[in-house]
C-alpha cells in the first residue's frame, strides 16, 4: 500500500519537491536527505490525509516544514540558540557549498541568488514558491497557512528587497 503511494507521489511530485528543497537549502546532499524525510512524514500521515487541501499543497506544506526544521537545527549547531528561531523573520541560509549547477550560472543569476539568500525567510520562501516552483498565489497561501493578501504583500516586499540589494551591490562594485 505505502509502496504504491510512494511510486505515485514520486512520479507526480518528486522533482518539484526536490527542486523546492534544493533552492531552499542550497545543498544537494541535504536536499536528498530532506526529500527522504518528506516521504517518511507523508507515508506516515497519508492514511489520514483528508483532502481538505490538494495533495500537491499538502506535500509542499510538509516539505516546507521539513526545510524549516532543517534550518532550525542548523541554527542550533551554529549559534546554540534554538527557541528564538522565527523562520519568517530570519534568513534561511545554508552555510554549505552550493550545488555545482549554480557555478555554471551567468553572473546576473548568481548575484540574484546570492541576494535572495540575504532576504528574510518569508521573502525567500515566497520567491522560491512563486517563481521557481511556479505555484499560484492561492497555492502558496495554502502551503504557508497565510492569506492570499499576505502572500502578495510578502512577494512585493521581496522583489523590492532584491532590487535594493542588487542595486547596492552594483554600486559598491563600481
Amino acid at each position: 500500500m505505502r509502496e504504491s503511494i510512494f511510486h505515485r507521489l514520486y512520479d507526480e511530485y518528486h522533482q518539484d519537491i526536490f527542486q523546492f528543497l534544493i533552492y531552499l537549502v542550497k545543498n544537494r546532499t541535504v536536499a536528498e536527505d530532506l526529500s527522504h524525510e518528506v516521504y517518511v512524514r507523508v507515508l506516515k500521515a497519508y492514511d489520514h490525509f483528508q483532502g481538505r487541501s490538494t495533495e500537491k499543497t499538502w506535500l509542499f506544506s510538509i516539505a516546507k516544514n521539513v526545510a524549516i526544521d532543517h534550518f532550525r537545527r542548523a541554527k542550533v549547531r551554529e549559534r546554540h540558540a534554538f527557541n528564538a528561531f522565527d523562520w519568517e523573520e530570519e534568513q534561511l541560509v545554508s552555510p554549505t557549498r552550493s550545488p555545482e549547477q549554480f557555478a555554471e550560472l551567468n553572473e546576473d543569476m548568481k548575484r540574484l541568488l546570492a541576494a535572495l539568500e540575504s532576504c528574510k525567510g518569508d521573502q525567500k520562501m515566497v520567491i522560491v514558491m512563486r517563481y521557481f516552483q511556479e505555484l499560484s498565489i492561492a497555492e502558496t497561501a495554502e502551503i504557508l497557512g497565510w492569506t492570499e493578501g499576505k502572500v502578495k504583500t510578502t512577494q512585493h516586499r521581496a522583489i523590492k528587497a532584491l532590487r535594493k540589494k542588487l542595486s547596492e551591490k552594483e554600486a559598491n562594485s563600481l
Binding site: R73, A81, V93, Q101
Partner: protein, 398 residues
C-alpha cells in the same frame, strides 16, 4: 552594470529563468533508501526510543552563557555565517565555516540531518526523566516583571553530594541552589534568593521575612513575588505561609485573599507562549484564574494578552470534556506533520501544563499521528512535572 537594469520587470523575468534543479538519483535509489529505513512498514517506525533530549532552554541558556563568557566566539560564528552566505559569488573558493566543518561535510551532513530529526522537541520535564535525578522548580523573573516557571533536573550524584540524600525537598533545593542561579546570564532579572528565610512545616512552605521588609513596596513587586512563590513551591506544597520574624502573618492579595495561601485550593491558570528576549517559554497567565480545567483549556484559545500569546495553532479548534482524564478533541483532524513542529509542540505542552496544574492528564483525540515526538496519542499523555527545562549549568559551581 547600471541600477536601472534591476527594474521590477527584469528582475521578475530573471527569477523566472532560474534553472530547473533535478534529483539525479534514480527512483529505485530513493525507494531502496526509504525501504531500508522502514518507511513502508505499516506499523509506525519507532522513533521515540532513544531520542536525544535537547531542551530549547538548554540551548538558549548556553547561548547566553557563551555570549557572556566568550563573546568573541559568538561573533566568530556570525562572521562565518556571513562568509557562507556570500559564497554564492565565489563558488569554487567557498569554504565552509570552520565551526561547521564536521556537521556539514559531504557525508556528515546526511547523518547530522537525520539524527537531528529525531531530537525531542519537548520543553517540559516529565517523570521519565527523573529516574536519575530530581526536578528543581523555580520561578525566574522575566522581561515584563513576571514569573517564568523553569525546571532544572539535578542528577542524583549531585543531590547526594549536596544533601547526603537523593530526595531533598523543594525547600532544601531552593535554599541550596537559589542563590547560585545565574539569573542574569540566563536572561532574567536578579530576584533570588528571596529576602528572609524559607522553611517547611509539614505540607506548608513558610517564608519568614525580616521585620522591616515586605514585597508589597509596589504592586509590581507584589505580583512578581506571588508568581515566584507559586511557580517555585505551588506544585510541592499545599500551603504557603508568609510572616515576619515576630510571627505576624503577611497577606499578599496577589497570592491569596486568605492566609495562609492555600495552593491546593487556589485557582489555576492557562499556559501561554511567553516571549522573553532570552527565548520563548510556556508560562501561566496569572491575570485570569479558573476553577475548572475545561475553562482553563478553553481560555487558551484567546488571542494575545500582553506579552502572552496563545499557543494554539492558527485555525485549530477543539472541544474539552472534563473527567478523571481530560479529553481534548480537535474539531478537524490535526496533522502534526503538516504544521510547524515546534509550534505544535508548544500547543500540546501548554495544554498538558494547564491540565497538570489541575492534577489531570489529557487524552488527545483526532490527531492524525498515533506517535509523535515521544508522545503516544493512543493513551493519556503524561503530566509534566515542570515547565521549561533548563540545564544544570544555570546553577553556578554545580
Amino acid at each position: 552594470m547600471k541600477d536601472e537594469k534591476w527594474s521590477e520587470q527584469q528582475l521578475e523575468e530573471l527569477l523566472s529563468q532560474a534553472p530547473k534543479m533535478q534529483d539525479r538519483r534514480s527512483k529505485e535509489d530513493v525507494f531502496t533508501r526509504l525501504k531500508e529505513a522502514g518507511a513502508f512498514e505499516e506499523a509506525p517506525v519507532q522513533r521515540a526510543a532513544g531520542k536525544k533530549r535537547k531542551p530549547f532552554m538548554l540551548l538558549s541558556l548556553s547561548a547566553a552563557l557563551t555570549f557572556l563568557t566568550f563573546g568573541g566566539i559568538y561573533y566568530f560564528s556570525q562572521d562565518g555565517h556571513e562568509d557562507a552566505s556570500m559564497s554564492m559569488n565565489d563558488m569554487e573558493s567557498a569554504d565552509q565555516p570552520e565551526s561547521e566543518s564536521e556537521s556539514f561535510d559531504a557525508t556528515g551532513i546526511s547523518e547530522a540531518s537525520i539524527q537531528g530529526m529525531t531530537e525531542d522537541m519537548r520543553t517540559s520535564v516529565y517523570e521519565e526523566q527523573l529516574e536519575e535525578g530530581a526536578a528543581f522548580r523555580i520561578g525566574l523573573v522575566g522581561d515584563d516583571e513576571e514569573s517564568v516557571p523553569v525546571t532544572i533536573i539535578v542528577p542524583k550524584e549531585k543531590l547526594l553530594e549536596d544533601f547526603g540524600i537523593d530526595t531533598p525537598t523543594q525547600v532544601d533545593m531552593y535554599n541550596k541552589y537559589a542563590a547560585e542561579i545565574d539569573e542574569e546570564a540566563a536572561g532574567f532579572s536578579e530576584f533570588h534568593p528571596v529576602k528572609g528565610k524559607i522553611e517547611e512545616q509539614g505540607s506548608a512552605v513558610v517564608h519568614t521575612l525580616p521585620d522591616d521588609y515586605d514585597y508589597e513596596e509596589s504592586a509590581a513587586t507584589d505580583v512578581v513575588y506571588a508568581g515566584v512563590m507559586k511557580d517555585t513551591f505551588g506544585r510541592s506544597y499545599e500551603k504557603a505561609v508568609v510572616q515576619h520574624e515576630e510571627g505576624e502573618t503577611v497577606v499578599y492579595e496577589e497570592m491569596s485573599a486568605d492566609e495562609p495561601t492555600d495552593f491546593a485550593d487556589s485557582p489555576r491558570y492557562s499556559y501561554f507562549l511567553d516571549e522573553q528576549e532570552s527565548g520563548v517559554f510556556l508560562s501561566p497567565d496569572l491575570g485570569s484564574a479558573f476553577r475548572t480545567v475545561g475553562e482553563a483549556l478553553e481560555y487558551m484559545k484567546v488571542g494575545d494578552r500582553g506579552s502572552y500569546k496563545t499557543a494554539v495553532l492558527p485555525g485549530v479548534d477543539y472541544t474539552v470534556t472534563d473527567g478523571e482524564v481530560v479529553k481534548v478533541r480537535f474539531t478537524a483532524p490535526l496533522d502534526l506533520e503538516a504544521v510547524d513542529s515546534q509550534k505544535a509542540m508548544y500547543m500540546i505542552e501548554a495544554m498538558l501544563l494547564t491540565a497538570s496544574d489541575f492534577g489531570k492528564q489529557i487524552l488527545f483525540e483526532n490527531i492524525v499521528q498515533t506517535e509523535w515526538q515521544g508522545f503516544r496519542f493512543v493513551e493519556p499523555l503524561p503530566k509534566p512535572v515542570g515547565a521549561n527545562e533548563m540545564p544544570l549549568e544555570i546553577i553556578r559551581n554545580n
